[in-house]
Symmetry: C2
Subunit: 284 residues, 2 copies
């Protein structure tokens, strides 16, 4: 099971849009995907039509240890795509978590249970003992909660919710708007990744910087993209997500881009990203 | 002295762009303006060419009670526009503040000193006693630190830094991107304003919702703007800030829009906003 965090403390750069549509693209090509909304704004949950005002439990309860991930998971229109929704109360979680023991590791602990079930699915079926009666060869449905990908959407900050996401995952995608402020915050973010790797999660690695809201008509966008590639080289995804109004319209219909506008540039770009994420595969 | 907070927990909606350019517009029409950068990303500081890596003290020291605002103020190219810069260390401030007594009121306390000096400037000169020798009638230069406006730029969250800003100010401007997620977070933000008014700052009022990044070419922008005006009526500024690439380019030159592109739509819109803010004047 691959675990990805989508993070950037700079606001409005395309984190939620990326988590939703990358998740949907991976689900469409056959992966089982769990999206976790770790942002109190609950944009990801609303983007996928979760009625956040009437759900009983959310990621907030998971972080307080009062529910498991299996308790709060919500299905979407795609059987391969599930969501752990957020809730408005989550905005109080950072202060509540601040005094808990191992406060940065709560989400990781909650994901252990999910991981175990996914491993059970990944493990090759144990060859039956010679002569044992075996049932027909129809493949077992995956155990509930078995996933190929878990993707966590982070709030625009480097507080305890984001650190929980970085401790619970192994790979990081950093959406970067191709505008001036994009480069400014990178050094701080990379410092935090290094610190988390040293103190909390040695397996954490940067999967890539993802250029988002790229508008090829403006010099600014072109210049920032060129600067990103010059600075970070291979660590920038080949795929750049172009500005496309369909991506901004899709959330108001409660749909990801493949259900809302499957022939749009946005759908094309996120499918290309999914293929690139699969190709960059987990370094085991 | 009018004290304004520019806030919205949704990221990337134009908070910093508004604080900088509204401040500059007010300064250009003769008001003395102090901008306070309360965001650890320090985008406002960099936008106005403050070298955040080499300043000794910042708003971080003010919040810890180790410096006054007068100690950290930085001048800009415009004599009417000063900045209290941010610093990358500010991102640790929320956890540090969490256990301090009166943690939400630290910024308000720091501004008291500034306010006193501004009052001294506002007070009509005391009429000299009859027969007293008076000096020539040249107007006194304002005492250092005397301002007509203080504008605080907030991070994209409703944590302790933002609550400090809401406790230290009397008027709130909420930049709202004319996109779907804009409406989703409003109810939470208005709840927080009510709570701060009830518990910490009875004078706090909403000055207005400011449509930002408005792109008249897309239906989405038009629809969201129409919905904002339908929902919030008078509380939406008449001025809408149009999407204008010059506004996105200005920060990479370390200038506000009036120094970078004085004839642009961006300059026009922020000047119109300044006039509207002056017209909406403080309800005394
Ligand atoms: N490629 C794109 N083309 C057009 N609009 C986009 C694109 N990506 C994102 N958007 C829009 O831009 C806005 C910001 O995107 P999004 O909410 O995904 O960013 P975010 O980083 O998750 O924001 P926050 O920091 O508040 O969590 C949204 O209104 C979204 O619909
Ligand atoms: N009217 C506009 N036209 C074009 N670009 C704009 C406009 N307003 C803001 N921008 C650009 O959009 C991006 C987001 O704006 P800004 O940084 O001011 O938002 P913010 O709300 O302060 O973000 P954060 O939540 O990260 O603090 C920046 O790259 C900025 O240059
Ligand atoms: Mg988001
Ligand atoms: Mg900002």
């Amino acid at each position: 099971m691959r675990r990805l965090a989508v993070i950037n403390q700079k606001g409005g750069v395309g984190k939620t849009t990326t988590a939703v549509n990358l998740g949907a693209a991976l689900a469409n090509v056959g992966s089982r995907v769990l999206l976790i909304d770790a942002d109190p704004q609950a944009n990801l949950s609303v983007h996928l039509s979760v009625d956040i005002f009437h759900i009983k439990k959310s990621v907030y309860d998971v972080l307080r240890g009062e529910a498991t991930i299996a308790d709060v998971v919500v299905k979407t229109s795609n059987p391969n795509l599930d969501v752990v929704p957020s809730h408005i109360d989550l905005s109080g979680a950072e202060l509540e978590l601040a005094s808990m023991m191992g406060r940065e590791t709560v989400l990781r602990e909650a994901l252990r249970d999910v991981d175990a079930r996914s491993l059970a699915r990944e493990a090759p079926p144990i060859a039956p003992a010679p002569g044992a009666v075996t049932e027909s060869a129809t493949p077992e449905p995956p155990p509930a909660g078995a996933y190929d990908f878990v993707i966590v959407d982070c709030p625009p900050s480097l507080g305890l919710l984001s650190v929980n996401a970085l401790t619970a995952t192994a790979e990081v995608i950093v959406p970067v708007q191709t505008q001036f402020f994009a480069l400014q915050g990178m050094s701080k973010l990379l410092d935090v990744l290094r610190l988390v790797r040293r103190r909390l999660n040695p397996t954490l690695r940067l999967l890539g910087l993802l250029p988002c809201l790229f508008d090829s008509r403006t010099n600014l966008s072109q210049e920032v993209l060129a600067e990103l590639r010059a600075h970070f080289g291979e660590r920038v995804f080949t795929t750049a997500i172009r500005a496309n109004v369909k991506l901004a319209e899709a959330p108001s219909h409660g749909k990801h881009i493949f259900d809302y506008a499957p022939d749009s540039r946005g759908a094309e770009d996120y499918l290309a990203l999914a293929r690139e994420v699969l190709a960059r595969g987990e370094q085991t």
